[in-house]
Symmetry: C2
Subunit: 527 residues, 2 copies
């Protein structure tokens, strides 16, 4: 059987490759039929050259074409959602319904439509006009963007349709999609629709390209290539840090979302008030989709008292009783098993390790609840904050609030941090103390709900301090902010009015674009 074709320079064609790979159905551990090529450098080289050419065209193109493209792509996704979700289910084990069809696909479509609106509205550019000095600046596309998508969101974070893709295109950049090797078929179908939409909308042929896989060595060369503008990566810390090193060396912006244990502090008043409900919230959040979320609550911090003991008892029962879900890949199963071992070797106690029920044929791991004391945690906090990606969580029992804060202080950067407190205000002094320590450690501070929901909102920060991401100033979710990752700041000094980009001319380009003119935000024209 011939290997599947890559999309390079606007053409679906055979890849230059020596090796192929197959995806698996994680629910059956059976290899799927199609063979996908591991491209050699020649494919990457051609994709980079084509992308560089496409970028030159896109820089001069009307932004309305970006809008047209993103909306048309959204429409095509909607028309083809059933088939895509079924394929994504086969490659990921995630349920078609409600997860893929009713949650992730609508989110994906919504993100593309928001990006479409942002691309033409132009407010994301933060056009800044200083009429006195004759200097004007804005954000412009950074150049071709390579997007490495993760395995846990085959649609909403896919390199071919997800948040990084939408943001990169909205800024006017071509995208080179690097498929997640667990979901090459889904990515191919998404790329087909993206390519169709691009063609129909008059985008350059190489605006969207697709590579399935490359050697590690070529990957490092690829992200450091001078033709590339930036890289978006969501995945493991191990791979992310290697790519980061290669990109950093040549000053190439790379945005990474890598790892997070998402600490959740539950204060005593909250436990007293609604302990049982909290057990349910925790269990649902931690075991949903087998816990395979970047913002899975992987670290629960409690005061060591009777109420906490009750909470742990409840969670133990729940973890043991709930069926354990299908894991996304063999690699996720191996990683989870290994990282649980790291935590247990460090001294964590096993409170629950499933019931043995659940996925019998697929990749799986018993729902695992671990616990330890703050004292033990602090004695080896590096090991204890190992991310065990999946249906697992570690509960840390602290003697007092000071210990809670010490545990927080010992954490690396995280995407989220959550504090539960009582509604009457009894926990408020403790809240203030904990929040002060937690705030600088996380991108998003949450009250009274689990971190797994990541709303698509302009105020969202799906980001955080290293090593949750590579830079604490950027978010991967939320338009317009997420677009800034794929943009360069450009200033125009004494440039003649007719030579300015339309967003920086006296006339407001849309009549409603927000611009920062002489120190005030306005939608007006100048003069």
């Amino acid at each position: 059987m011939a290997a599947e074709q890559v999309l390079i320079g606007g053409k679906w064609r055979d890849a230059e490759h020596n090796e192929t790979f197959q995806a698996e159905n994680p629910a059956t551990k059976q290899a799927l039929a199609e063979e996908y090529p591991i491209s050699t450098w020649s494919d990457l080289d051609q994709a980079l050259t084509a992308a560089a050419g496409a970028f030159q065209e896109m820089r001069q193109m009307a932004v309305e074409k970006l809008e047209l493209f993103l909306n048309r792509f959204a429409e095509l996704l909607d028309e083809n959602k059933q088939a895509i979700c079924e394929l994504a289910n086969t490659e990921s084990g995630l349920p078609v319904s409600p997860r893929l069809l009713e949650v992730e696909m609508p989110r994906t479509i919504n993100q593309l439509r928001l990006a479409a609106a942002a691309s033409v509205d132009g407010t994301w550019r933060a056009a800044t006009i200083d009429t006195k000095s004759g200097i004007r600046s804005y954000y412009a596309g950074i150049g071709p963007v390579a997007v490495f998508g993760p395995n846990n969101f085959p649609l909403a974070f896919s390199g071919a349709s997800g948040g990084d893709f939408a943001a990169a295109i909205a800024a006017g950049n071509p995208v080179i999609v690097k498929a997640n090797p667990a979901q090459p078929g889904t990515t191919r179908e998404l790329a087909k629709l993206a390519h169709q939409a691009a063609t129909e909308s008059g985008l350059p042929p190489a605006a969207v390209q697709l590579i399935y896989h490359m050697s590690n060595e070529d990957g490092l060369k690829f992200v450091a290539d001078h033709r590339l503008g930036a890289i978006g990566f969501t995945g493991s810390k191990l791979a992310g840090l290697k790519l980061k090193e290669a990109a950093d060396k040549v000053g190439k912006p790379i945005y990474l979302e890598m790892s997070s244990v998402n600490p959740v502090v539950i204060l005593p008043g909250a436990l007293a008030e609604r302990g049982e409900a909290l057990v349910g919230e925790f269990q649902t959040s931690c075991l949903m989709a087998a816990g395979q979320f970047c913002t899975n609550p992987g670290l629960i911090i409690l005061l060591d008292d009777d109420q906490s003991a009750k909470f742990i008892e409840g969670a133990k029962t729940g973890f043991a009783a709930a069926p354990s879900g299908t894991l996304l890949t063999k690699g996720v199963e191996a990683g989870l098993t290994q990282n649980l071992k790291v935590l247990i070797d460090a001294g964590a106690d096993v409170e629950a390790s499933g019931s043995g029920e659940g996925s019998s044929q697929g990749y799986t791991c018993p729902n695992t609840l671990l616990s330890t004391t703050a004292e033990k945690f602090l004695s080896n906090s590096e090991a204890f904050q190992t991310e065990a990606f999946g249906n697992c969580s570690l509960i840390v029992k602290a003697k007092n609030l000071a210990e809670v804060c010490e545990v927080i202080d010992s954490l690396e950067g995280n995407l989220t941090g959550t504090i539960y407190s009582d509604t009457a205000g009894g926990d408020d002094p403790a809240y203030d103390q904990v929040a002060h320590h937690l705030r600088p450690k996380v991108g998003r501070l949450i009250n009274d709900k689990m971190p797994t929901g990541v709303a698509v909102s302009p105020a969202m920060n799906h980001g955080g301090p290293f090593p949750a991401t590579g830079h604490p100033g950027f978010t991967a979710v939320g338009i317009p902010a997420s677009i800034h990752r794929f943009a360069a700041l450009q200033s125009f000094d004494n440039v003649r009015p007719n030579r300015l980009p339309r967003e920086l001319r006296d006339e407001n380009p849309t009549g409603k674009t927000w611009r920062f003119v002489d120190g005030a935000w306005t939608q007006g024209h100048i003069g």
Copy 2:
């Protein structure tokens, strides 16, 4: 003689050191009397701990104290400007008047006052409120900032008073000043006034600290330290890239301004129209302060025709006749001499090499004008775009416009790019072509004036693609944008109203802070 004291933890005290260094007067090559310590790790360690403590205080402090501090510091600078400028002159060779006293000091004071206003106004935080989802975000201080200042602006870019300092403080971060070793006395005097202002304004004692020097090894350890939030560095590419590698490895944001040849394209119509005036503009810009500006016009690109020959002839005469200025340090003299050799070895022709006149006792180099053809340039563009920091420029003669664009395409990232064209419009088609190639290579695109002026404007981009800086999305000059470098994005999800920072509450914190509320910028209250 005892070595000068460092400022650590709010106290001027003897440094922990084994070695000392002295500065020189570059106009006489005489060592200055004072001895300055090269701190050992112990000093750095204590400064980092003190800074981390100060940051915890500053996070909870009223922003009015930042405003008070920055304005008071500006006031103290104004009161002490004569003495500081005289000392800066001794350590840098830059003239007291007009350069230091009438240009650089007022700029420095102005930047501090703008930062003061920004700190309390809060518009820089880009507070974003999504009332529907209950998510709110803003930029907050990133943590202690280390500022490594350059040698060419002893005041306006000094670690103790310059743009990075002002931006870092405006965001609520303590600063650890690393003095430029060429100007330790000036930096000490600036830090004294900063410390006095900090004390009077109620800032934590370690809000401003001063280290004169450290070993290279300690420097790498310092920028990678977990207690540091970010680093601002202006200086050589060699040192910058080493610090960048160390900081990148641990995901520490480091903002670098490193090198730039600042290409200037002069189109034929402009030469025909005002060739003689352009010779004057070029010469003034290139030789002012012995050309020691980040935005010095180091690369002039012309079409090879009679008018260009006349331009070159005029510039030759001018370069030869003008006195050559004093160079900042022995190192600048050595670097300039060496890099001129690189250019000449690559094949550049020497059009002018001073008259021998100028500084007779100090560090100096003849005003040097080089030329080459585009063909030669393209055959070894890496060598030909070597930055020869100082009173030197390379003219590239292209056969046609296509070659001009090829030369531009071969350039690395630069801070600025300039195009001169005629006023009647004859150059317009050529302009469009050149600008298309030049725009993505530079942070600031300029028309019809030399790049050496860097206005303090919100629309300024004193930044650009690598290796001009480390990231093309940030500027080192221009408030509020420059503040974002020293800030982290923080989101608050479902956080109770009374727990929100004041900038994110329903009530507008100042009644005039601009906030992005439900997709519109407003100064209003919510609800």
